[in-house]
């Protein structure tokens, strides 16, 4: 199991490296150079940048130095916000993003899987149709549409929940963002679970288990659940990525001070340093999450472990 995880990690590193390299050179290739943006930079920043990227050196040297700093956890300076480095800004936003994103991730998994199993157990009856509507809503209502609609209904019309803001982390403030962020994934995961369970329940070993007189609960719980979850687990990695991108919209609409909003602001203000740093940070986060998912996958299927 440990070697399996290590092997996965080893194959991930080259891809991460390629992505980072691509980002670095894209930035260098920016028309007119990265530092000649629409607005002139203050001299202090310009010097800072020159020092950080060693602009007087050759491209290869700059690249190697950048990689070196990256390994030490230095993502470089922000071009706009002079008081903080990229890492410092990320650390300010991280708790908000992690709270909302993590809750949404857990909600997606738990609600998605339970809804999928319930949908299977009550298939083609009322609970299943209800699930169908939720799934459809999640699939055709993108989060940027879902958010204003929820704000309108629950915030303005019913006045149950605040329309936005962090509110010191009060639970009522994060309900809407979390639900908006999670709903599309609840939909996808439950759909995946339901379809996968139908397939698994048709397999021969389930027939064997039934012929042995095991109860329905024990068949689903012990024999069907793990194989049902394999496709769900392989969706979790990408889902984490989608949640991150979703948080860009959700944090903006609900006015949460997370990384996503910093990122959007930085991108709109063409703060290259911040944008590049955030993208790389996100990639590392996602890669780590995927590693966890891979290990989970191996736990689910003994055949993967032995290869």
């Amino acid at each position: 199991m440990l070697t399996y995880a290590l092997r996965r990690l080893l194959t991930t590193i080259p891809v991460l490296w390629v992505a980072i390299t691509a980002c670095f050179f894209i930035l260098r290739l920016a028309p007119g150079g990265p530092f000649d943006g629409e607005r002139p930079l203050p001299d202090a920043i310009r010097q800072n940048l020159a020092a950080h990227y060693n602009l007087d050196r050759s491209l290869v040297e700059q690249y190697l130095i950048y990689l070196g700093k990256l390994l030490k956890g230095d993502l470089g300076p922000s071009f706009i916000n002079q008081d903080f480095t990229v890492v410092e800004q990320l650390m300010i936003g991280l708790p908000y993003t992690l709270t909302v994103g993590g809750t949404a991730f857990l909600l997606s998994i738990v609600a998605g899987i339970s809804a999928g199993i319930l949908g299977y157990m009550y298939r083609n009856s009322f609970p299943d149709y209800l699930l169908g509507i939720v799934v459809l809503t999640g699939l055709v209502l993108p989060n940027f549409l879902l958010a204003p609609i929820f704000q309108l209904i629950f915030g303005l019309k019913l006045e149950w929940l605040p329309v936005g803001g962090w509110g010191g982390g009060a639970a009522v403030n994060i309900v809407l963002p979390v639900v908006v962020l999670a709903l599309p994934h609840v939909a996808r995961i439950s759909r995946l679970t339901r379809a996968s369970m139908i397939e698994v329940m048709h397999s021969h070993y389930i027939r064997t288990a039934r012929s042995r007189g095991l109860s329905k609960a024990s068949i689903i719980w012990r024999h069907a659940l793990k194989p049902t979850l394999t496709p769900v687990v392989s969706y979790l990695g990408p889902a984490a990525g989608f949640l991150l991108t979703g948080s860009l919209v959700v944090e903006t609409i609900f006015g949460l001070p997370g990384i996503g909003r910093y990122f959007i602001n930085a991108a709109l203000n063409r703060d290259y340093g911040m944008v590049l740093g955030t993208v790389i940070f996100y990639m590392i986060l996602i890669v780590v999450l995927n590693l966890v998912v891979d290990v989970l996958y191996a736990w689910l299927d003994p055949r993967v472990r032995s290869t």
Partner: protein, 305 residues
């Protein structure tokens, strides 16, 4: 089984008396017949066609232009009387014209980006599947990791650095949406390659090129069509998402995502600015979703509950 054998019985009965060639029906034709029987998919197809026709031809029949303001009607709510069926925005521009034009742009982006993704995905997947071995493993591991990375961030990065450019947007979205296609084509190629009819073709003296074009490509057609259909709504969402955030289509051009972003800002005062573009987007996504599902069920008719 039984229905298959009853068909065979018909075949054998016709054998007894004379033998004019019977028309055969390929699996593709079977699948299309199943699709036609699928009411949901057919209604969706009609809806999609209607949306396409409206988006292409509609603007010519409307007395208003998507960018020129009507100085007599600012912020006017939808009404049949004054000719602004969907109302106007803060600048007095006709929302119907803007929505149709936005639909047109969204569809265009979807079409081109999907084409880009199909070309890349099919080439990559078919190559990995056909070559196999270590090259295949490396290529698919790359896809796995790429799949996990938040690809929209790259598009935003590109848009930030190279400026907002519609054609760059087409290419960038397409270049990031090919992953699923590559996976599916690769899996299909692998399984076709292992089937005995490929070996039979080799035994019949066919060269690699002939095998690929005569035996592999025709059998890839079904899955490619299905997943291309499923890619379109994804691209529509990605485009709207980017436009919504301000990294996609920019003024004076417009798209459904841009319109929705504008509508969201004035939701409390001019709600129709959100509802009409949103309804168009939802209808578009809904019909594409049903067509995609219908196609998948038609090509792979297993019980799904």
């Amino acid at each position: 089984m039984i229905f298959r054998s009853s068909r065979l019985a018909a075949v054998e009965a016709s054998l007894a008396g004379g033998s004019p060639p019977l028309p055969g029906r390929s699996q593709l034709q079977d699948a299309l017949a199943r699709l036609v029987r699928n009411k949901g998919a057919m209604v969706s197809l009609a809806m999609l066609c209607l949306l396409i026709v409206l988006a292409i031809a509609g603007p010519w029949f409307i007395p208003h232009n998507y960018e020129d303001p009507d100085w007599s009607a600012f912020r006017s709510p939808p009404s049949l009387a004054d000719g602004h069926w969907f109302g106007t925005d803060q600048n007095g521009r006709d929302l119907l014209a803007r929505t149709l034009f936005g639909t047109r742009v969204s569809l265009l982006v979807a079409l081109i980006a999907t084409l880009v993704s199909v070309v890349i995905g099919v080439t990559y997947g078919a190559f990995a599947g056909y070559v196999g071995g270590r090259a295949d493993q490396a290529m698919m591991r790359f896809v796995d990791v790429m799949y996990a990375l938040p690809s929209i961030l790259f598009v935003i990065l590109l848009m930030v650095i190279f400026g907002r450019n519609v054609f760059l947007l087409f290419a960038a979205i397409g270049a990031l949406e090919w992953l699923t296609m590559a996976r599916i084509v690769r899996g299909q190629t692998l399984s076709i390659k292992q089937r005995e009819f490929i070996e039979a073709a080799r035994a019949a003296g066919l060269g690699t090129g002939a095998i690929v074009f005569r035996h592999i490509v025709p059998n890839l057609l079904g899955p490619v069509v299905i997943y291309a259909t499923l890619t379109i709504p994804e691209v529509v969402v990605v485009e709207s998402f980017l436009s919504y955030l301000g990294f996609g289509i920019q003024e004076p051009l417009t798209s459904l995502g841009t319109l929705i972003a504008e509508g969201t800002n004035v939701l409390e005062v001019l709600p129709w600015l959100l509802w009409f573009p949103a309804a168009f987007l939802i209808l578009l996504l809904l019909s594409l979703l049903f067509i995609g599902d219908g196609l998948r069920d038609a090509f792979d008719p297993r019980e799904r509950g």
